[in-house]
């Protein structure tokens, strides 16, 4: 009994990390219709940014979060302004292929600069701290922080999207770009801001990922697949859905690892495929359009 409860709790906490990966992917598709194949690689870039900041300035990875957020937001704005603005977005193929090119460039630039060896950011004693949540069930402080971060980020994004003028414009553009432009919304500007916002979520998830485990220049695709599975399970367009999707994948991973270490990822994929077959539009789909 304890082991089942433990699996669910540990898996849910791991799911917080997957939800963090998924938020950006969901946003970038929801608003800009970009299927960002390079999403996982963006997360890995942030991990290496954290590594460089730690090695050169001696910045603790969790302390460097605000600085990295600012840098990432600027990067997102620039990427949209100098690259994706010029990609025809009549159908999703061109932007997807541009992201595909970016992915190859990112992975190999990182390989050139840092080599293929796995890296990890050390956060110090916090990594091994744990508390007894329930009798005989210990949870790490770091996974708790990550999970809490996911919840806070979802609350903030909800507030931005549903309570602010910028959010209203984002929703208008996401519903229909043409109409949004007709009522006077500066769509290129919204796209740039939205891309910056996506990169903010990536900055947070990248640093936390780098503290939680190893990463290499080739880690991106795996992260993309986890993020994607969380988005689809949760139902496209639902922010809380991504958290549920992340938790489902997280529990599957932890349960799979109990059977055999080699089954961890496979169990996650298997659960995803099952849900796809039985609930094709996810557990919490936004109203069909």
């Amino acid at each position: 009994m304890t082991i089942i409860l433990d699996t669910i709790i540990q898996g849910s906490l791991l799911g917080g990390l997957f939800a963090l990966y998924a938020l950006g992917l969901s946003l970038i598709f929801g608003v800009m219709r970009i299927v960002n194949i390079a999403h996982g690689d963006f997360i890995v870039v942030i991990a290496y940014v954290g590594l460089v900041l730690m090695q050169t300035l001696g910045l603790h990875p969790l302390i460097s979060i605000p600085l990295v957020i600012v840098m990432a937001a600027a990067l997102g704005w620039i990427l949209q302004a100098v690259l994706f603005d010029f990609v025809p977005n009549i159908d999703p193929l061109p932007s997807m292929l541009v992201a595909f090119g970016l992915q190859i460039i990112i992975q190999n630039t990182l390989l050139l600069g840092f080599g293929a060896d796995p890296k990890k950011l050390s956060a110090g004693p916090i990594e091994v701290m744990s508390i007894e949540l329930l009798p005989d069930i210990f949870v790490g402080v770091l996974p708790l922080i990550i999970f809490a971060t996911a919840i806070i980020l979802i609350l903030i994004l909800q507030a931005i999207i549903y309570r602010t003028g910028f959010g209203r414009q984002i929703r208008a553009v996401s519903d229909n770009e043409e109409n949004a432009r007709m009522i006077g919304i500066d769509t290129p500007k919204i796209f740039r801001k939205a891309f910056a916002l996506v990169l903010v979520t990536i900055a947070i998830s990248g640093l936390l990922m780098a503290v939680k485990g190893n990463f290499t220049p080739a880690s991106g695709p795996t992260l993309l697949l986890f993020a994607f599975e969380a988005v689809i399970i949760g139902g496209m367009g639902s922010l809380w859905g991504t958290l549920v999707g992340g938790i489902v994948i997280g529990i599957a991973h932890v349960a799979g690892a109990q059977i055999d270490a080699g089954f961890q990822t496979l169990a996650g994929h298997a659960v995803f495929l099952l849900i796809l077959v039985f609930y094709p539009s996810g557990l919490f789909a936004k109203q069909e359009d």
């Binding site: 690259l83 999703p92 193929l93 541009v98 190859i104 460039i105 697949l225 994607f228 689809i232 496979l266």
Partner: protein
């Protein structure tokens, strides 16, 4: 005009195939191996282009079929003891049969997410391939010498036979595609390529066409995967289900060569091999250049080299 165009294509294809067909009599094994690679790349790229360029189906998981074909070939020859020359054609119905459940699952994903979904499926197949007993686990297993020797006892004989196989299959795939485009379905395909919603509105059964394309592509990728195994002489999850060789380079080839044109993958494969031969010693830099070229193509000439040639020849014609 259309009819003439088709006959010109056909004539050109057969002449080129004939020229390449007699080459093994004159060139060494290394060159044959290089050209075999070239044919396989064109074949795989044609099938990706058939899906993405005409059917609007973007998959990043087509290496799934290559790997499955390789594993099926191994199972048929080494485990079931079926003659290799019988096993090869059997890879076609195997691939088509596999394409049915794959498409059934993936078609639940809305247009763009299909791509990432296909990647997940390919990943699942790769992980599973390392776990089925009898296939050598994660490190894979070699084809037995007796099976390899069916294709020729000397290396030279074997290379020429595999060369002709790869050439024949690729020519057949191209032939199939140009006949398909020439047929009634071809009109539907061209309509879909230009505007899917409009095609649906004028009565094209887009679902049927998409399923048909997916089956054709799965069937022949499986066959190409089996032929690729003859070249590699072994199966392994990492090599047989290789996303870099089976999908990433292929997307590059189609995009840079010209998506939605039959000549595109051929031009793309030539460009790719020229780059590989001159730059691959530089490792990551070579890959960065490939990525940059793919992006530049999307920004400057989304129709790739084929589109560029088209533009230039039109200019020359207008000037003259």
């Amino acid at each position: 005009m259309e009819r003439n165009h088709f006959l010109i294509q056909l004539f050109f294809l057969l002449v080129v195939a004939g020229v390449f067909g007699v080459l093994p009599l004159f060139v060494d094994n290394g060159t044959m191996r290089f050209l075999t690679d070239f044919f396989l790349l064109i074949g795989i790229a044609q099938l990706w282009n058939l899906l993405a360029g005409f059917g609007g189906i973007v998959s990043i998981g087509q290496h799934l079929f290559l790997g499955a074909g390789a594993y099926a070939f191994f199972a048929m020859t080494s485990i079931l003891g079926i003659h290799p020359y019988v096993s090869l054609p059997l890879a076609i119905p195997f691939g088509a049969a596999l394409a049915v459940p794959v498409y059934a699952i993936l078609s639940r994903l809305k247009l763009a997410y299909f791509a990432i979904g296909s990647w997940v499926l390919a990943e699942v197949m790769l992980l599973l391939a390392g776990k089925i007993p009898g296939f050598g686990g994660g490190s894979g297993v070699s084809l037995s010498p007796s099976i390899v020797k069916t294709f020729g006892t000397s290396i030279g004989d074997r290379m020429s036979n595999i060369y002709w196989l790869a050439l024949g299959i690729t020519v057949f795939i191209i032939l199939l595609i140009i006949i398909l485009l020439q047929s009634r379905h071809g009109l539907a395909l061209k309509a879909m390529r230009d505007n899917e919603t409009a095609a649906m509105a004028v009565g094209v059964n887009t679902v049927f066409v998409k399923v048909l394309l997916f089956l054709i592509s799965g069937a022949f990728l499986s066959l190409l995967g089996a032929v690729g195994t003859l070249l590699r002489l072994r199966i392994s999850p990492a090599a047989s289900f290789n996303i870099t060789d089976g999908t990433i380079f292929i997307i590059f080839i189609v995009v840079v060569g010209g998506i939605g044109r039959v000549i595109g993958p051929v031009l793309g494969a030539i460009i790719f091999l020229v780059l590989r031969e001159t730059l691959s010693a530089y490792g990551p830099i070579y890959m960065i250049i490939l990525g940059g070229l793919a992006i530049a193509t999307m920004l400057i000439e989304p129709k790739g080299a084929a589109g560029l040639f088209g533009r230039i020849s039109k200019k020359i014609r207008n000037a003259g």
